[in-house]
């Protein structure tokens, strides 16, 4: 309820400032017009198609980032030399914003899908690696001893005990990776070509149509919010509860 009142007052305030007519339309759009454009765009398919395009890229990039991330973390967690060399590299690469990779990607993969997906992968993978390898390294040693005691060894010990025991960390990594991939995708789409949300946003700017720009921004925000809060948060909470990581 509080949130609805808050949201309502923001829209009223926004409309009020718009009515004062300080800035021209193309710099400060009206919230009602933005809403109109948003509904219109969703109805006639422009936005929904763009959203589907973006989500498709996101899903491809995200899947690659997660799978590759898990594989690399397994190598890092089991091989000390790799951890000391490549592990530190991951740490420094993680602080590089993923858009920075776009110029290289454009050179390597040409303008288009592949380079955008590459940037998405790079956006999410470091977080995935960091979280998963921390998870694997921090498995309760008693569980490992218990597994050995019950006759598990080598690969069995890894797949049946160490990996499941690190699932809470892996899920956190997946949630963060999703968020980072989403940001990377938007940045890459704005700078590159195609039919995603980012491109519509840029197209709106080129047309001087702020209604489009702001409505696409809203869509981007909502998509991120919904997946993060409704999907990942829920899964994460459930897993944390089951693994006994929450004070009940």
């Amino acid at each position: 309820m509080k949130r609805i009142i808050f949201l309502g007052s923001i829209i009223i305030l926004w409309e009020g400032v718009y009515k004062l007519d300080i800035w021209p339309d193309f710099m400060f759009p009206s919230p009602l017009n933005v809403l109109d454009t948003l509904i219109d765009g969703l109805m006639n398919g422009t936005y929904s198609i763009a959203l589907l395009h973006s989500l498709r890229r996101l899903l491809i990039g995200y899947t690659i980032a997660v799978t590759l991330g898990i594989v690399i973390s397994i190598v890092l967690a089991t091989n000390k030399t790799m951890d000391e060399t490549f592990g530190t590299l991951v740490l420094s690469l993680q602080s590089v914003p993923s858009v920075v990779w776009l110029p290289l990607a454009l050179l390597w993969f040409k303008m288009g899908e592949t380079s955008i997906i590459f940037v998405v992968v790079v956006g999410g993978i470091w977080n995935m690696i960091m979280n998963t390898s921390t998870g694997i390294k921090n498995v309760d040693p008693t569980l490992i001893r218990c597994g050995k005691n019950l006759g598990y060894q080598g690969l069995d010990l890894f797949t049946k005990i160490i990996l499941p025991a690190s699932i809470p960390h892996i899920i956190t990594g997946m949630r963060l990776a999703w968020a980072f991939c989403w940001r990377a995708l938007m940045a890459a789409e704005i700078l590159s070509t195609g039919q995603g949300l980012g491109q519509i946003l840029m197209w709106g700017r080129d047309m001087g149509n702020m209604n489009t720009v702001v409505s696409v921004m809203l869509m981007i925000a909502f998509t991120g919010l919904i997946t993060d809060n409704l999907v990942f948060r829920k899964i994460e909470l459930k897993i944390f509860e089951k693994w006994g990581l929450m004070a009940s």
Partner: protein, 274 residues
């Protein structure tokens, strides 16, 4: 059945266990008691094969042990259940390693769950169980493997007194029924005296066996039995020396286990307050 010959264990330069020699007969219930840091947990870990001795041998049925084996199963202090498996899955987890027939696995698991009174909680996950129930699952997971030797590392120390008493009786029943050899590490003298045939008192720095006391009384025992109190007192007196040693080391030489019984203060002598 278990023979330990001249066993030594050192971490770096610190001797944790020195010259341990011990024979344990089949179906014997043996408790290890001693001050913290005396290496009793290390000893049981070495017998389990989870830790390696620096020198000396552990023989089980005349064969030297090498690593873990499913005939020596450990019950850990904090139950160490797998959170992603339900009670049934946890109990069946180790069994799947030594038994391939699914029907047999099911029958065995159901039977052992009945034995520890957890049949109703088969599909519960560890986070839904109380501490006592978790430890029951842990015990079930161990005895379902039908090991020759059951190793217990302070299994009840994290439980409240009532739950512990219940579990004592259950463990006693299980032991009398199955006749397993049980090695039981504990801090609690009463627990040790009530449950075991033999109590091994360990000393500290370096960890060694100080005394080996037989509790030759019939099972099952009631905790109100006055003979138990007599044995408790006997063990406490021997253990006191070792506990005092630790306390002196930690708190300085002036520490004395037994204080002067008379109250004595300079200002409070007879007539001093006049």
């Amino acid at each position: 059945m278990i023979k330990i010959n001249n066993l030594n264990k050192a971490y770096g330069k610190i001797n944790v266990l020195q010259d341990i020699n011990l024979h344990i007969k089949e179906s014997e219930f043996v408790s290890f008691i001693g001050p913290s840091g005396c290496g009793k947990s290390t000893l049981i870990n070495i017998i389990a094969g989870l830790d390696k001795a620096t020198s000396g041998k552990v023989l089980v049925d005349e064969k030297e042990i090498n690593g873990t084996h499913t005939d020596r199963i450990m019950v850990f202090q904090n139950a160490a259940l797998f959170p992603w498996l339900d009670v049934y899955g946890n109990v069946a987890f180790g069994l799947k390693n030594i038994c391939k027939d699914p029907n047999e696995i099911r029958d065995k698991v159901e039977e052992v769950l009945r034995k520890v009174h957890l049949s109703k909680f088969k599909h519960h996950y560890p986070h839904q169980l109380s501490g006592g129930m978790k430890q029951r699952v842990s015990i079930a997971r161990s005895i379902v493997m039908d090991p020759k030797i059951l190793l217990m590392d302070e299994p009840f120390s994290a439980l409240d007194e009532q739950t512990r008493m219940l579990l004592h009786n259950e463990l006693q029943e299980i032991w009398m029924e199955t006749g397993k050899t049980i090695l039981f590490v504990t801090h609690n003298i009463r627990e040790a005296v009530k449950l075991s045939d033999r109590v091994i008192i360990m000393g500290i720095r370096p960890g060694c066996i100080v005394d080996d006391i037989a509790i030759d009384m019939a099972h099952p025992r009631q905790s109100t039995d006055s003979n138990l109190f007599y044995k408790e007192e006997l063990i406490f007196r021997k253990l006191k020396v070792e506990i005092e040693k630790v306390a002196k080391e930690e708190l300085g030489n002036e520490y004395n286990f037994e204080k002067n019984h008379l109250s004595w203060e300079h200002n409070n002598t007879m007539g001093g307050g006049i």
